[in-house]
């Protein structure tokens, strides 16, 4: 096993491991076959598993996700790729109204074990329609599990859990992390969905982050450590199941919370988390709760503009600094 693996490779590796174990796992999506995916996140799958298990599709997001649903209802475990998470909007009916509801509205008759994988988030200069962090869209819909790993090993472990899950999972792979490296995952590595990770311990302030915001939070924490502020960083990993207990556990120690989200402030997932904390964790709080989220604008193209919009190490550090002085 190599010493390090990229996040991008981890995606393909995570899928491949499950395809090896379970013949019911099949992939479909645009350019995922011989081309290996436009982000190369399915590289090698077509070669290893062939056209019978790795299916190129037309540009038909509704058909992709709808067909995945139909297949999942009838014995398969499809893994559908929606190339950019912005395009989830093109098949939103399936994510919002069909996949998460069919089990409930049939009184539990039908199970939908599928994964919708998608490249999420900004930072690459792709502009307003190819850069969004849309994990908060999925959070508006009860019945979807939502995974958003921050490290290659978590990609593999959470992919295993997602594909083995009998529930539908939306799996957000972060474009800004694809080139990042990390330790590879041991064989049969499974990271159960719904377990946040405390990725840095600290006593003064709790930073909760997801996906690409985890390294941002960690960098801010390091910078703040030099200033004598001891930051605990929680990688939430999943939005559903939402690991509230780990967050409250951290707060019991720090009494101060900052949430770092890439999605816009309005309607962002941090709102849900903070509202739980402001209720169940109210007694733990010594200071206001802050959210560092994207500004409520579409994502601009130019780097110098995008930096103004999304959370950065500077912004997170400034917020924490301010809060610890409260």
């Amino acid at each position: 096993m190599a010493d390090v693996i990229t996040y991008r490779q981890a995606v393909a590796e995570g899928i491949a491991r499950e395809m090896r174990r379970d013949p019911a796992v099949v992939c479909l999506g645009e350019d995922i076959g011989a081309a290996g995916g436009v982000f190369k996140t399915t590289a090698g799958l077509y070669e290893e598993f062939g056209a019978g298990r790795v299916w190129d599709t037309p540009i038909s997001e509704q058909a992709i996700v709808g067909a995945a649903m139909g297949a999942a209802m009838t014995g398969m475990r499809p893994v559908a790729e929606i190339m950019f998470s912005d395009f989830l909007a093109c098949c939103w009916d399936y994510l919002a109204n069909e996949i998460p509801k069919v089990r409930y509205m049939t009184g539990g008759q039908v199970t939908v074990p599928l994964v919708v994988r998608t490249a999420n988030g900004g930072g690459l200069g792709f502009g307003a329609q190819h850069s969004q962090a849309t994990e908060n869209w999925a959070l508006t819909v009860p019945g979807l599990k939502i995974a958003a790993p921050a490290t290659p090993a978590d990609v593999i472990g959470m992919m295993a859990a997602a594909i083995r899950s009998d529930d539908p999972v939306v799996f957000f792979e972060h474009k800004g992390l694809f080139a990042g490296k990390g330790p590879p995952a041991p064989p049969d590595h499974v990271v159960e969905l719904g377990h946040a990770a405390v990725v840095r311990e600290g006593d003064d302030v709790t930073l909760v982050a997801l996906a690409s915001m985890v390294p941002v939070a960690l960098s801010a924490a390091e910078r703040l450590a030099e200033e004598g502020i001891d930051v605990e960083v929680v990688d939430l990993r999943c939005l559903v199941p939402l690991d509230v207990m780990t967050v409250l556990g951290s707060l019991a120690k720090t009494s101060r919370l900052v949430v770092v989200e890439e999605n816009p402030y309005q309607g962002g997932w941090g709102g849900t988390l903070v509202s739980i904390v402001a209720d169940e964790g109210f007694g733990l709080l010594d200071a206001p709760v802050r959210r560092v989220a994207a500004a409520c604008v579409p994502l601009p193209f130019a780097d110098v503009l995008e930096r103004e919009v999304v959370p950065t190490v500077d912004k997170v550090a400034a917020t924490v600094r301010d809060l610890s002085a409260y």
Partner: protein, 343 residues
């Protein structure tokens, strides 16, 4: 509803008239049960025992029953909110359907689904969907799955004329054609969407069949009120599809006897048109065919009586069934049976 014996594909002509008549009688009786179930649903709605909405399929029975007769028991069926006839034709009982409409715990979906979502998964009737056109890609996926698993199953999506103008229709048909999947698209063209004639908003005359060439698949039209014609057309397309020749599209011309939903009096339909279609009632058409085959009138009366009795008993049983336990509102979201979304 007890399923009628399955005629082997293409075998319709090989059997003697006696057996053909017996088969048709069974189809007739299935239709008679559906007709009465829909009437019961209508009456129960008016008397306040069915809440929400219903979309009755009275008048369209021959599509469901005819198609079903040409399918294997393990084929997959996907229907719309106007799907009572499909649930019944695929083996749901009038009692479990009506119980669902009446919000009883014994309903097909435990009263979580309602009229628009009748589903009998144990019979591979994989649901009724209330977003127009949404289930077509699902049927494509089920057919893909059948192919992957090598089971020889078909998937059939039934949908209305109005669904032919929505994007999912286009995506589903193209994907099915490209992958040559064993899936049939059966349009029940009843001339109207909710209150607007399909002809007013569609660029071609046959909203489904005229689109088939855009996907390089066979598109046929059929008298949707003739259960035998439907059965034959579906059998033909099913045979092709099962043989690996890819999807087929069938547009069945039919008519709904009630309004679009609830108590819609359907005043937007010309009286003359209604009259003409009522004269071409699928039950009458089947009766005519049975008469031609020499079926005695009393046999038909007996079938009607049995149908009546089944539905009456179903209504009574559903009325007596208990309401769901309120706590069941928080079950069945996840495969573990629960609804927990956080720690």
């Amino acid at each position: 509803m007890t399923r009628v014996p399955q005629p082997a594909v293409g075998s319709e002509t090989g059997t003697g008239p006696g057996s053909e008549a017996a088969e048709l009688l069974a189809l007739y009786e299935e239709m008679a049960v559906i007709r009465r179930t829909e009437k019961a649903a209508h009456d129960l709605f008016l008397s306040g025992l069915v809440k929400g909405t219903t979309h009755l399929a009275a008048g369209q029975e021959a599509v469901a029953v005819g198609a079903s007769a040409a399918l294997r028991d393990d084929d997959y069926v996907f229907a719309t909110y106007r799907g009572h006839h499909h649930a019944l034709a695929r083996g749901a009982t009038p009692e479990e359907c009506l119980a669902e409409l009446m919000s009883r715990a014994s309903g097909l979906c435990g009263a979580k689904g309602g009229s628009m979502h009748l589903t009998k998964a144990s019979a591979n009737m994989l649901g009724s969907y209330a977003i127009v056109g949404a289930h077509l890609p699902l049927a494509v996926g089920a057919a893909w799955s059948a192919r992957l698993r090598g089971t020889g199953q078909l998937a059939v999506a039934f949908f209305g004329d109005g669904a032919t103008n929505i994007g999912a229709f286009h995506e589903a048909l193209n994907l099915a054609a490209v992958w040559r999947l064993p899936v049939l698209f059966v349009c029940e063209n009843n001339l109207y969407m909710e209150y607007t004639p399909i002809a007013d908003v569609t660029a071609v005359a046959d909203p489904a069949a005229d689109r088939a060439p855009a996907y390089g698949i066979p598109g046929e039209t059929v008298d949707g009120n003739d259960v035998v014609a439907v059965r034959e057309a579906v059998a033909r397309l099913a045979g092709r599809a099962r043989a690996g020749d890819g999807p087929g599209l069938l547009e069945a011309r039919t008519y709904r006897h009630y309004g679009h939903s609830r108590a819609d009096p359907a005043a937007y339909r010309p009286a003359e048109e209604v009259e003409r279609w009522l004269k071409h009632d699928p039950l009458d058409v089947a009766r005519g065919r049975l008469a031609e085959l020499g079926m005695p009138a009393e046999t038909l009366v007996a079938a009607d009586q049995r149908a009546e009795a089944v539905v009456q008993a179903a209504v009574e049983a559903a009325k007596k069934a208990p309401a769901p336990d309120p706590r069941d509102a928080l079950t069945d979201v996840w495969a573990d049976g629960g609804a927990r979304w956080r720690t």
